[in-house]
Structures are given as structure tokens and as C-alpha cells.
């Protein structure tokens, strides 16, 4: 039989992490809660909402006190109709996994059901809402997790979120000579989408006009 993490372990670890976070950040406007996935095994995870000023303190706490060792992904989102509370949002997803170095010629075989404390795998979701405006910016955590480096590069490249303190920021997916300020996942860039009539009436596309003609490009 394959092993697994039981619901009890999962729930206890999530609650312990939230308790720990609330104790440390009780009066600084960082909110954390236990949330459950709505599909699959309904696993619970920790969702944290914090301001950009608090972010590096929270990140260091996650890494050094709660053993979060994997920065999985960074997602930037643009809300063009947003306000001063949320015009942009950066979501970090992190994992805690039982991974420790081993001696040569040995291996560590964990049994899911027997894991305890900080070795229990856990998912962390961190939302950082940013005010609307032309220059969204959050502090970089490149020096805390090496894995955040290219994730942040990608988020800047595609969404245009600025990561303060990020060393060696450059385009990764877009061409290196893309115009300054061009970040395709911002919402003013509409996706061109030819409809079927256009395909049948004008199969070679001579008369086709971009749907975002006249808008900012």
C-alpha cells in the first residue's frame, strides 16, 4: 500500500503553523488562516495575507521557524479596475517538505503516517495586495530562497511587478529587446482572437484588423 499524509496530521500541522504565525505577527496586520482545498482529498493549507512592508519578515519567519524550504511559484495579477487596496496582487506559493541532506551511501525513507512536527508537508499561500498605480512593487526574497530568483524574474517580465532588491533582473521569456514597460499579462493588452466568420469570409486574413486597434499597446 502506498503511504499518505492523514487528514489528522495535515489538519494539526496547518493549525500549529497558523497559531505560530498569529503569535509572532499578532499586532502587525498579518492575517493567517487555515483553508481547505475544495477538491481531491480536501487537504488543508495555510493562507497568509500581508502587506509589502511585512513581507520579508514573514518570509524569514516561514523559512527559519516553520521550515518552509520550497518556494514553488510567484504569480502577479493585474486588476485594472482596482483601488488603493488591491490594484495588483502578488501570490507566493510555498511548500514545506521533509528534505534533509544524507550521508554518502545512505538514504532517508520517511513514512508518511509517522511524520511529526515541522516534517509534516504543508502548503503555504501568501497574498500581497498592492495599491493600483503604474509601479507595483514588493521586496524581493531572492536571497531567502534561491528558487524565488527566476520566479520573480518571470513575474516582472510577464506582469511588470517590480521586485525591490532583486539582483540581475532581466527578461526571461519575452525577447530581450522587448520595449521597456511591455509586460504582456497586464490587462490592457487584449488577446487577439479571430472569430469563425472572419475565418470563412476572409480565409487569408487580408481584411483582418486587430481587435485592440486604437488601444494602448
Amino acid at each position: 500500500m502506498g503511504m499518505t499524509i492523514t487528514q489528522k496530521q495535515n489538519s494539526e500541522a496547518a493549525n500549529a503553523a497558523v497559531e505560530n504565525l498569529n503569535e509572532r505577527f499578532s499586532d502587525s496586520g498579518v492575517s493567517s488562516e487555515v483553508v481547505a482545498h475544495s477538491a481531491g482529498k480536501k487537504q488543508e493549507f495555510v493562507r497568509i495575507t500581508c502587506s509589502p512592508d511585512q513581507w520579508r519578515a514573514v518570509a524569514k519567519h516561514l523559512k527559519h521557524e516553520l521550515g518552509v524550504n520550497h518556494c514553488a511559484m510567484v504569480t502577479g495579477t493585474h486588476y485594472p479596475s482596482g483601488n488603493d487596496e488591491r490594484g495588483w496582487e502578488v501570490a507566493y506559493h510555498m511548500h514545506r517538505w521533509p528534505i534533509h541532506n544524507v550521508e554518502a551511501h545512505t538514504m532517508t525513507v520517511y513514512t508518511g503516517e509517522k511524520l511529526k512536527g515541522d516534517d509534516i508537508p504543508m502548503e503555504f499561500e501568501i497574498f500581497i495586495p498592492l495599491p493600483a498605480g503604474d509601479s507595483p512593487s514588493v521586496p524581493s526574497i531572492q536571497d531567502i530562497w534561491e528558487g524565488a530568483d527566476w520566479n520573480e524574474k518571470e513575474t516582472w517580465d510577464l506582469v511588470g511587478i517590480d521586485f525591490e532588491g532583486h539582483v540581475n533582473m532581466h527578461r526571461v521569456l519575452n525577447p530581450h529587446d522587448s520595449p521597456t514597460g511591455f509586460h504582456p499579462l497586464q490587462r490592457q493588452h487584449k488577446i487577439r482572437y479571430h472569430d469563425f466568420n472572419e475565418m470563412y469570409d476572409d480565409p487569408q486574413g487580408f481584411g483582418r484588423k486587430p481587435v485592440d486597434e486604437g488601444r494602448i499597446k
Binding site: 502506498g2 482545498h37 477538491a39 481531491g40 517538505w97 521533509p98 528534505i99 525513507v109 508518511g112 508537508p121
Partner: protein, 379 residues
Amino acid sequence: MAEMWITMGPQHPMTHGLWTLRVKVDGETVTDTEAELGYIHRGVEKICEARDFTQITPYCDRLCYVSAMTWAHSYIMAAEDLLEAEVPERAEYIRLMAAEVQRLASHLMWLGAFGPDIGNLTLMTWCLRDREMFLDLLQELGGSRMHYNYPRVGGVKRDIPIGWANRLKAKVKLFENRIKEYEMLLDESTIWLVRLQGVGYATAEDQIDAGVTGPNIRAAGVNTDARWTNPYSVYDQVDWEPAVEKPTSVKGADCYDRYRVRMEEMRQSCRMLLDAIEKIPGGANTHYQPGDEMLITKAPTRAPEGATGFSTYECTRGVSNFYIQGGGDGRGKNPYRVSIRSPMFITIPYVAKTMIGYKVADIPAIMGSFDPCIGETDR
């Protein structure tokens, strides 16, 4: 001697796709590297914002052209989390088998491509021969040879055909013997050992800090695998254990360990498949019509604003994540934002840095042992 920059790629046999590795060399020794990606960036995340939840699946198939099934499942799990869909147990078993057959096919493609890197051309023909068996099985499920568009929100497109279980069993049992043949070919080959052993060391903690996951980290001596750490599907009901390898040095796993762990992982996939086909609810030789409640449940097609879905999935090359926000165009018919975490996008820059200090001739071995795939890297 003066140092100089050499550009390997975008057209280079080592790259396994379109990307560039810039290498700074001092004589034969690599002193610095830089990875350049983005040659086949297609903007999948942007395209997804103008598609509904079912239309996105084929785009996710094409994220990695040798591992379509796992990527489609990774996406569909996040969509199910967003839309709050339940999956029938029979569908979960079918998904598990589809993903594991795909894992075999993908690892065979990796091994086949890795052989010529090292100088073993026989391996390519052997692996492609065996991979074809598994592609045939997947073709019976999805209808096409490489991009299947098979999973649906809440289940699967159609049931396994009559006789599929028997063909699967025969092929898997044959393949278990073929793995032994591969090992006889490779583990006894001096060239194979000399080129792989003692190069490309990487420890477990270094790798996880840099975001490297999957078989690469299991080669370094820990059995962390998203199939049990973040349990999904029915992996807790079938017989398997995570493949794990003892690293040969305090410096961590070398290229040979990473080759060994993938061979072991193929064995575990075989074991899982043989067990799952016995345990599948409803019987392996029953065929339910598409849309039957054994295969798919009704799921909402629209997601409200503010709803989010997230999945952690063990793809063939590491852990892939999807993060989806609901409430896009068409009153929530489209997602507002789809974000994709590709394991290789993070791994390639890390591997580029691990090459520093080795010889230029070791670069193909080190790069190939991490199993790069550029389709998912550039998205």
C-alpha cells in the same frame, strides 16, 4: 590562458530543445554559465484567459510534448479545486493509470535522448521501440498519439476500451523484463559509467532551496514525492513506494544516481499499474458509456470572482503547480488568471550553475541527467 564565452545552443544536441547555454571556459574547465530561455514562449497563460475551463486542457497537453497526460491532469486538478468538482473513484483510477503510463513513456523518451548524449546510440532505438507500446495504450484512451485532451473537470472523457487492461498487463510485464535488458546494456558499459559517475553533484538541501524537485531530488537520498506528501488521486490505495537512490558522495547525487532513480521509478510505475488494474472499481473489462456517473460528475462551468484553485502534482520532471483565479470574462466562464509553475523553468538555471568546475565534455551528461524539457519551460 584567457577565459572566453562559448554559446551552446539554441541548436545544439545537448540542449534537448531550443535554449542557449552560455559557458565561460578557462581551457577545458567551465568557470561560469548563463542560461537563456524563452525561444518557444507561446504565452499560454495569456491564451488561457480567453478560453473556458474545458478549452484550456489541450493547451496544457502541449506544455510538455513528451508528457501531455500529466500536465493536463495537473491543470484539471486545479480547475476542480476552483470549481469544487468531485471525481468518481473509477475515474481516479483511470487517471492514475493514464498518468503512470505517461510517466513510463516520458522516462523512456528521456533515456532515449540521454543515450546519444553519452555516446550510446543503441539506447535511442530501444527506448523509442518500447515507448511506442505505451503511446499506443494512451492513443486508445485519448484518440491521438501524443496530445490526448483526456481528462475533464469532474472525470475523464471516456472509459478504458474493452481489452485495454489485458494489453496493458501484457505490455507492462514485457517492459519489466526490458528494464533488465537496459540495465545489462548500461550498467555494464564502461563508457556509460565513466561519463556519469563523479560528475554533476547536487545535494538534497541545495536542490530544494533552488526549487528543484521530483526524481532529481529523490536521487539525493530522500523519498519526498508529491504523490504522498500532497496526496491526490488514489495513490494511497495502490501498491508502490517512491523510488529513491543512495547518493554516492557527501557532495550529493551524481549523474549516475539520477539515471538509477529514473530506472527505479519506471519499475514502481509498472508495479502501480499492475495493481491498479486489479483494483479498479467496476472491473477492468467493463466499458461504461461516456458521461456515465462512474466516469464523470456534473461540475459547474463558471467560477465566481475571488475563488482560487491550486494544485500540486508530481509530473515526470518534478512538481508542477497550477494556480487559477476565477471570475474572468463571460461571467466567470473563463479564468481571470492562470499561472503555471514548471519544474524545468527553475531547474535549468540551477543546473547551469552546478556545471561550474567541471569540464566542457561533462556538460551534456550533467544537463541530460536532469531531464530538461523546453516546452514546459517556456510555456
